[in-house]
């Protein structure tokens, strides 16, 4: 099951540059929430705060509260938190020294799982969830780098799912992919919300419209508007949202 997230007065800095300014946002469980906005609006920083990845950058700072299923994430060990909040990055980043199979179970192995049978089951289950199993089942010992870009990205999704997180963050997961591969990923996201709470950052407004239950519009580090996707795209409350949606800037 996915978990709910609530974000309270979240502020983030990168050096002296404030990239997030007082964000308040409720994120429903088992929903796909899209984060849209122009480049540099803070949407990437926002999702990177949720698994405390933002803090790993030198010169970064965070203030505020993020509550995951009733508990503040800043009171948890980030290593433990990241097992509950998985992440898929913009560019596929499989580990090049590992085979497809080893990539999928990399996170599970870090957690100390050594049983071969269990690992194989987890690998198959995760690859099936990532809709990649049929394409790779006969060459699990091949390098992850032997796959196409779209397959590599689904491999990275499988790797994230294998750890069984409750929230999945996706930072423009399809922006480096061709239309067919993008379609695969989008179909996957719609299925995955059965089990996960999904936050997806996207540059592509059609993509948000196609897959997201709710959409949040960020601008200059502020959350301008957050609501059901249909409402944001057809009847936005804020003039700036409307201007962005209709392509007047961004």
């Amino acid at each position: 099951m996915g978990h709910t997230l609530s974000v309270r007065q979240l502020e983030a800095w990168y050096g002296s540059n404030q990239t997030l300014k007082g964000i308040n946002m409720e994120i429903a469980s088992n929903h796909v929430t899209a984060i849209i906005g122009p480049s540099g609006c803070g949407k990437s920083t926002f999702v990177r705060c949720i698994n405390r990845m933002h803090e790993t950058l030198p010169g970064s700072k965070v203030k505020g509260e993020i509550i995951l299923d009733g508990e503040s994430i800043y009171e948890q060990d980030p290593v433990v938190l990241r097992k509950m909040v998985g992440m898929v990055f913009q560019k596929p980043n499989p580990f090049p020294s590992m085979s497809i199979y080893e990539n999928v179970v990399a996170g599970v192995r870090l957690n100390g799982m050594r049983n071969k049978k269990t690992l194989q089951d987890i690998a198959e289950k995760s690859l099936r969830m990532a809709a990649l199993w049929d394409e790779v089942k006969d060459r699990l010992n091949y390098s992850g780098m032997s796959l196409s870009g779209g397959q590599q990205q689904r491999l990275c999704i499988a790797r994230a799912l294998a750890v069984e997180p409750s929230v999945l963050l996706m930072d423009e997961p399809a922006s480096a992919l061709d239309p067919i591969a993008t379609m695969h990923i989008e179909g996957l996201v719609r299925q995955l919300k059965e089990d996960y709470t999904i936050l997806i950052v996207t540059h592509n407004m059609q993509q948000a419209a196609r897959i997201a239950d709710s959409t949040a519009f960020f601008l200059n580090g502020e959350l301008v508007e957050h609501g059901p996707t249909s409402e944001i795209f057809t009847n936005p409350n804020d003039k700036r949202t409307e201007d962005y949606i209709t392509g007047r800037f961004g």
Partner: protein
């Protein structure tokens, strides 16, 4: 069939090509010529002793008996001892500087470590004579003998000057090479790889183990091999601390001799042709060992860099 087009090069480019080509060929010619010269000079010794030269332990210029085994042994033992000590420490320094240290601290310490490579080897030798060897004699060797004395390597009288001193000084000398190269290849690991590991819930060490080291391993191997190459050929510092006695003893405390050191020390004393010829043959063997080790190093780098089927690392 597509028609072949030939690019017509300008006169300047043609001259450049000829010039650089002759330089490249010049290096090759020089190498072959050196090899041949050495072989030619070593010929009397090769004809006289045959394979016995590398299996004999006797080195007695007065009786015209020459065997290179003690020198080969001394060189290999000190070099591998140096590698054994310097490789983990160099890697540790690189990991710390790259993955743990604050950026200002990193710049200062990184510079200082690389400075170690700039110190002339004769200075290392002096330090070896006046600091390292006495310290080994009074503190380290008695300590090792007390705690690990059941191993033959650590038995015998503490002398200070010997293979342990040679290995240690070589370790200090090759440490900066290994650290600097490892650091560079680790810095080239894309940050995406680190984030991939962290996002799966890896600790810092797990991130290094899963994402950084495998990605950089062929480069790290290359750095270690370069360090080994330097250790094998190092002459001055080793000759100053190794004790210069052509003996093969199990104890690391015992004085020994290395190939480079015997050539440097005895070249001017080689009063007759066979003596000189034997020294040159030792040089030839050193040359051969370096070539063979480099070949295997390449093979190793290539095989670890291959990764799983259908893809290569980096």
């Amino acid at each position: 069939m597509s028609k072949q087009y030939k690019l017509t090069a300008s006169l300047g480019d043609q001259i450049l090509r000829l010039l650089t080509l002759s330089m490249a060929i010049g290096v090759l010619v020089l190498m072959v010529w050196m090899g041949w010269q050495m072989f030619d000079t070593a010929r009397p010794s090769i004809q006289r002793f045959g394979l016995g030269f590398i299996t004999s332990r006797v080195w007695d210029p007065v009786k015209e008996q020459f065997g290179a085994l003690p020198f080969i042994y001394g060189t290999l033992v000190t070099s591998f001892l140096a590698l054994l000590l310097a490789a983990p420490i160099g890697l540790g320094v690189a990991i710390f500087l790259n993955e743990m240290a604050e950026s200002r601290f990193r710049a200062v310490v990184g510079f200082l470590v690389e400075m170690l490579a700039a110190i002339p080897s004769v200075v290392y030798g002096l330090w070896g004579i006046f600091v390292l060897a006495p310290w080994l004699k009074t503190t380290v060797e008695p300590g090792l003998a007390k705690w690990l004395g059941f191993i033959p390597l650590f038995q015998g009288t503490p002398v200070g000057f010997g293979m342990l001193a040679g290995g240690l000084i070589l370790a200090v000398m090759i440490l900066p090479t290994i650290a600097a190269i490892s650091r560079e290849v680790m810095a080239a690991v894309p940050n995406m790889q680190r984030e991939a590991a962290l996002a799966l819930g890896a600790t810092k060490w797990e991130m290094i183990r899963v994402a950084v080291l495998p990605y950089a391993k062929s480069g790290i191997m290359g750095g270690i091999m370069l360090g080994l190459g330097r250790a094998l050929g190092e002459t001055m510092a080793v000759t100053m601390v190794i004790g210069n006695r052509p003996d093969i003893l199990a104890s690391l405390f015992a004085p020994a001799y290395s190939m480079a050191a015997v050539i440097a020390n005895e070249f001017t004393e080689a009063t007759y042709d066979l003596y000189l010829s034997a020294l040159v043959e030792i040089g030839l063997i050193l040359f051969g060992i370096t070539l063979v080790l480099n070949f295997f190093a390449r093979l190793l780098v290539w095989s670890v860099g291959r990764g799983p089927k259908g893809g290569s690392i980096v």
